[in-house]
Amino acid sequence: MPLLEVRNLVVRYGEIEALRGVSFSVEEGKVVTLLGANGAGKSTTLRAISGLTKPASGEIVFDGEPISGLGPETIVRRGISHVPEGRRVFPGLTVKENIMLGASNRRAPKAQLSREADAMFDLFPDIRKFSNALGWTLSGGQLQMVAVARGLMAKPKLLLLDEPSLGLAPVIVQAVFRIISEIRRSTTVLLVEQNARMGLSVADYGYVLETGRIVLGGKPDELWGNEAIRAAYLGGHAKVPA
């Protein structure tokens, strides 16, 4: 049984149908990536899974239990941690406070959270020296690391990562993806990416979303090997006619 199963998910924003029956699954221990152009419905899918957006219809089953329609506070307690688009690091709290609050889904004394946050810096050594800096003073790459570290503090069974590479310099993107390949040893990951090359480089399986529908699913080399798919959805170059 997959850890997460999404069936015929439909999400509407007023008149607009953002998702028109999306179905896919995520196996435990794997990294699955959702690829697609801007506006394809990738972020909406993650928002529906974590409870930020109520689906109009369809089912979301996590760990054998339906979670569709539950609130975000409940869903994160069930074991899904969502690192949303734009990082959303609290600007007026320090880096360490941000990371500690990532564990708000479980009961733990402050001293223990402080130790766990310190341990988290082993995975993210680049932000250790900003431990006491306020969120708003950090750069995009540092914010992304804080956001992922905060997401991991929930000790999730499933981590939802939305566009971790967005707006980052290539060398920082590399660092972020190195961390994702670290995380996958212990946590299942559902990764949304516009940067298909990076997404497929860490994933076990990929789905391509187009205007609210899944149009294709496959292993990374299958997706990457398909020239037409590459040209249309993955941002690769169309084959020059021979």
Binding site: L52, R77, R88, P91, L101, S104, K110, L134, G135, A154
Partner: protein
């Protein structure tokens, strides 16, 4: 010089009352992005609760004080559930109008029970005050200043050194993200309303022996406190406290050296000056928030 010291003492005392109410304004504003126009009525209701328990029923002052504060906590809870919670997904305008409605309801309910005649509440202490060198320290003013100092310290400790304080801050900075982390946003807002109602109530109880207990006391205090938050920098906790104290001192000196009848005018003159020359207030824009 003696007069200056005396006026400074009185000004800080009255300013501390404004600071407490201003703090309530700021905390609710930060948590809900809405100005609570019933904040002053919290002070008025608490003062009347003291009249009920300490004067009408003749209960001990300290007991009446505790019951009145517990009553304010309950009022904060009801206020949240009845005024803010049903409208929380709407824009700020319906919420603001609802707080104005609640303020009218509270004032008129008290008016219906007690009538327009102002009530008198004794101070906490039997001793009227002590002479310290050239300055006469009124016991009620001393109490106000002591309580305010204690609360400012408590407030700092609570928001900076407890996990709950950090969760409240997180909620005020980004509600959606807070909920994603498992922080119960509705509980955080409930706590904010309870705390703000108690702060407002405390200010009302402390100032009641200096003023009369009247229906209008709420709006008078609230206007000054609101001015204080703008002078301090809207939404800033330190700004609310400094703004409140500054306003108290300014109006006391204005009354002594310029004109007593225009005492209330000085506060608003300063407010207008700030709005023209430094609309972000003393502490405004200190922390630039990145999008």
């Amino acid at each position: 010089m003696d007069l200056v010291l005396q006026l400074l003492f009185t000004g800080i005392g009255i300013g501390a009352v404004y600071a407490l109410v201003a703090l309530g304004f700021v905390l609710i504003f930060r948590a809900t992005n809405v100005v609570n126009f019933a904040q002053g009525e919290f002070s008025m209701v608490a003062a009347y609760l003291m009249v009920v328990f300490a004067v009408d029923l003749g209960w001990p002052y300290w007991l009446s004080f505790l019951i009145a504060l517990a009553g304010m906590a309950l009022l904060g809870m009801i206020f949240n559930l009845g005024v803010y919670y049903p409208l929380r997904h709407r824009s700020y305008l319906p919420v603001i109008i609802a707080t104005i409605g609640a303020s009218i309801l509270l004032a008129n309910s008290v008016l219906a029970i007690y009538g327009p005649q102002p009530q008198v509440l004794q101070g906490w202490f039997e001793t009227p005050g002590i002479q310290l060198g050239p300055v006469y320290l009124d016991s009620q003013y001393l109490l106000i200043i002591a309580v305010t100092i204690a609360l400012v310290i408590f407030n700092y400790w609570f928001f900076e050194h407890t996990l709950l304080g950090k969760k409240l801050q997180a909620t005020s900075q980004d509600k959606e993200m807070a909920s994603l982390l498992g922080i119960s946003v509705s509980t955080m807002i409930m706590i904010t309303f309870i705390y703000s109602a108690v702060l407002g109530g405390l200010a009302g109880i402390l100032v009641a022996p200096i003023l009369f207990v009247s229906i209008q006391m709420g709006s008078t205090i609230a206007l000054k406190a609101f001015a204080a938050t703008i002078i301090g920098g809207f939404g800033d906790v330190a700004g609310a406290i400094i703004g409140g104290l500054a306003l108290g001192v300014i109006e006391t000196f204005g009354a002594a050296y310029i004109s007593v009848p225009y005492k209330d005018g000085f506060a608003f003159l300063v407010l207008v000056a700030f709005l023209i020359f430094r609309p972000q207030g003393i502490f405004g824009e200190r922390v630039a928030e990145k999008a």
